[in-house]
Symmetry: C2
Subunit: 450 residues, 2 copies
């Protein structure tokens, strides 16, 4: 028998690490403890499960516990690790179904406790009926069941991030009158306001009501305990379904109590090998920080892409291999109705906050050759350093062709390209898929003139 790895949390990072460790070391004993009833599922697919685009929640599962068992990875569902004793390399595990608990020894420990939804102050989850968060498969099942069984007519979403926007589309698609309430003056707060504006126009154009700059002060229920209204600084919004999508915070209590150091973002501090400051204790995924290659600082941008990569790196090092996580450049994308909105690097505001002498250009181009039918407007913003011309970030909003172009910018950022280099890239062209001057090149050329 080899060394024993305990993985706390069956999310993407945890299971990615477990699989990688297993592939590298067939002897290692690998145990995973997961609080919920599901591991290794496509969390980002939950909005599409709620809308019915994905029929069955089991479709979201990448790999079942049985499949992990075939790989000789033990998955314990409904088990919560409640204590880490780093000195003696033991964890205390509670069986949430039987109520029993036990201590387990580890040689290597991976903390992959993920994130959890931010709640409204004073609102304890489940206190009012019809109020939900969306994080686990169970959350998704509960929301879908609530809609089917209770037939709500009016939905309010609190929070205009990715999940909030995607659920606005889901609810609207299901025929609910939907209001999106965001306390900032814009949705997608990592985007610059004029780019977020395009998304706001799409939401309103599709019939979603927006309440921006509105602070939620409370929820009101009827006598049966069912939510009826959201009370906000901009008045009351009727709602018999409320989704709280206020963002994700790292689940770090367990780690903190064990003495694991947290970083400046509040998430677990890790090095490039995904090691925490405690020996043989690793962390990865939405509970951990990630080094941001453009700001040159740790960042907390919890996304599945990062979680998977970090898990893989952690798994490699846990199994005695050598891997380093190269860090992120802050890439993210969402699709809302007919619009895709992607960003990478720093937003203009962020770049200024970090002290860069920033220039930015914004262009409107098209996704196809001008004469090819079906082309859609494509808005591109590039943020770059004034003196050096080094690209600092990019944002793209449009009806098609956003994802790949964000990838091009992400690759450019990864290597610190200038807008001059960007303008010279040998990008592909065929009339149904791009204009002969790719919109990215147009934007870079406009930036060069500046």
């Amino acid at each position: 028998m080899g060394e024993r790895l305990i993985v706390i949390g069956g999310c993407a990072a945890g299971m990615s690490a477990a699989s990688k460790a297993r592939r590298m070391d067939p002897q290692m004993e690998i145990l995973t403890y997961e609080r919920t009833g599901f591991v290794s599922y496509g969390e980002c697919g939950l909005p599409y499960y709620i809308s019915g685009v994905v029929k069955d929640h089991n479709d979201l599962v990448v790999r079942t516990p049985e499949q992990f068992a075939e790989q000789n990875i033990e998955v314990h569902l409904h088990h919560e690790v409640t204590e880490i004793d780093a000195e003696n390399r033991r964890v205390r595990v509670e069986d949430l179904q039987s109520g029993g608990s036990r201590d387990e020894h580890y040689d290597k420990l991976l903390i992959a406790t993920g994130g959890r939804p931010t709640l409204l102050p004073g609102l304890s989850s489940g206190a009012i009926e019809g109020v939900f968060v969306l994080r686990s498969v169970e959350d998704g099942i509960a929301i879908r069941r609530f809609i089917r069984e209770r037939g709500p007519r009016q939905a309010a979403i609190v929070g205009g991030g990715y999940i909030g926007l995607e659920l606005a589309e889901s609810f609207h698609t299901l025929g609910l009158e939907t209001t999106l309430i965001e306390w900032m003056p814009q949705v997608l707060i990592r985007f610059d306001p004029e780019m977020a504006q395009l998304v706001q126009e799409e939401l309103e154009g599709q019939g979603v009501r927006l309440a921006l700059g509105a602070k939620v002060e409370g929820l009101e229920a009827d006598s049966s305990g069912q939510v009826r209204q959201v009370v906000s600084s901009q008045g009351r919004f009727k709602a018999d379904l409320v989704l709280l999508a206020l963002g994700v915070r790292p689940n770090v209590e367990l780690a903190r109590e064990a003495g694991v150091a947290l970083g400046e973002t509040g998430a677990i501090a890790v090095d490039a090998e995904m090691r925490t400051d405690l020996p043989e204790v690793f962390a990865a995924g939405d509970c951990a920080e990630a080094y941001h290659r453009i700001s040159n600082r740790p960042a907390y941008i919890p996304l599945g892409t990062t979680a998977n990569k970090q898990g893989r790196v952690a798994g490699t090092n846990i199994a005695g291999g050598e891997a380093e996580f190269a860090g992120i450049v802050g890439t993210a994308i969402t699709q809302v109705f007919g619009l895709q909105a992607g960003m990478t690097g720093l937003a203009e505001r962020e770049a200024k906050e970090q002290g860069y002498a920033v220039k930015a250009v914004r262009i409107k181009s098209r996704s196809r050759a001008h004469y090819y039918p079906g082309g859609k407007p494509l808005h591109i913003k590039l943020i770059f350093e004034e003196q050096s011309g080094r690209l600092l970030g990019g944002q793209i909003v449009g009806g098609e062709g956003v994802n790949g172009r964000i990838g091009v910018l992400a690759a450019a950022l990864h290597r610190g390209m200038t807008i001059e280099e960007l303008a010279q890239l040998d990008l592909a062209y065929v009339p149904p898929l791009a204009p002969v001057w790719d919109p990215l090149l147009v934007a870079a050329n406009v930036a060069l003139k500046g």
Copy 2:
């Protein structure tokens, strides 16, 4: 009055240069001579004009001669430059409509004579009715008129490059029984055979007949001079419409006679500023070479993207500015029926020919999260240097999401990234547009295992 620029050829490179020179120098006198009746049009749109996807050939025009006139750029249609006297900085211009000719002085000269279709040995163009090439708007108009007026039933395309494939789709869409004849054993000769195979399957699946490895020996006409059959090494193919799409050769006769040096590819040799070896004589576009950043040699890969960039660089330098063309990495893409096929860098065969110790991996992934409906298979091949892991090329074939991913690889190639760096890229993810492990990352990870 400023200096006088004469541009020979009103193609993308020529007009891009003229416009750029004008923007930089309002005083310069700029004259363009163009043999055909059109300048500045989307040549790559011609297959879609023939199929009727583009209704009017005027839609292909980016800018009319009148619009150039407003910019104070003189465009002389139906004028051919027949001689360059580099010593005295004069060109001889023939007015093809009146038959007159005259000498014109230049201070700067740009040769943008483009390319011309390769013909079958022994076949003089126009000798047989129903036989066409597709290069100019006039060619497109003639083909579309022929189809409308003569109602051909069976089309044969000789040549399985981009134009050949796109026209196979156009003809098939118009209801013609279509045969594609290619003397090599595969279509898209720059692609590796197993990737081209996917495109061949799509063509055949859609009902296009393929004759690969078939040498065309001649064309047979009926007594009225109308083509009836293509005679090939694999037998005879009935055809009352034949399109010769055998590739493009650089139009260099005029330049060669003037003493301009040609490069090893047979196209005009240029430096990074797009200067030829003669003083004040520049060349750009499909008549010129381009430096290939991966093979580190001049290449002849005539494409609109390169022509436009080269024209812009030439225009900048002609007007006294400073610009250098960074070269190409060999990017190209086509769409055939439901399939997109893109490549960048070197194919495996090419890389081996150039002496690299080559490794290659091929994966099949999907364009969307596994649970999101409508996803399509995405085949990716990566070619890289064995020792260093440096990426040398990539090919992608799939139903969607090809263009942007080729762009990511092109950016990676531009900067000489390794597959290890590629595997670390912070690419975007949202279920309708990508799996959480982007197919490019999957391919890079498989390559790393290799």
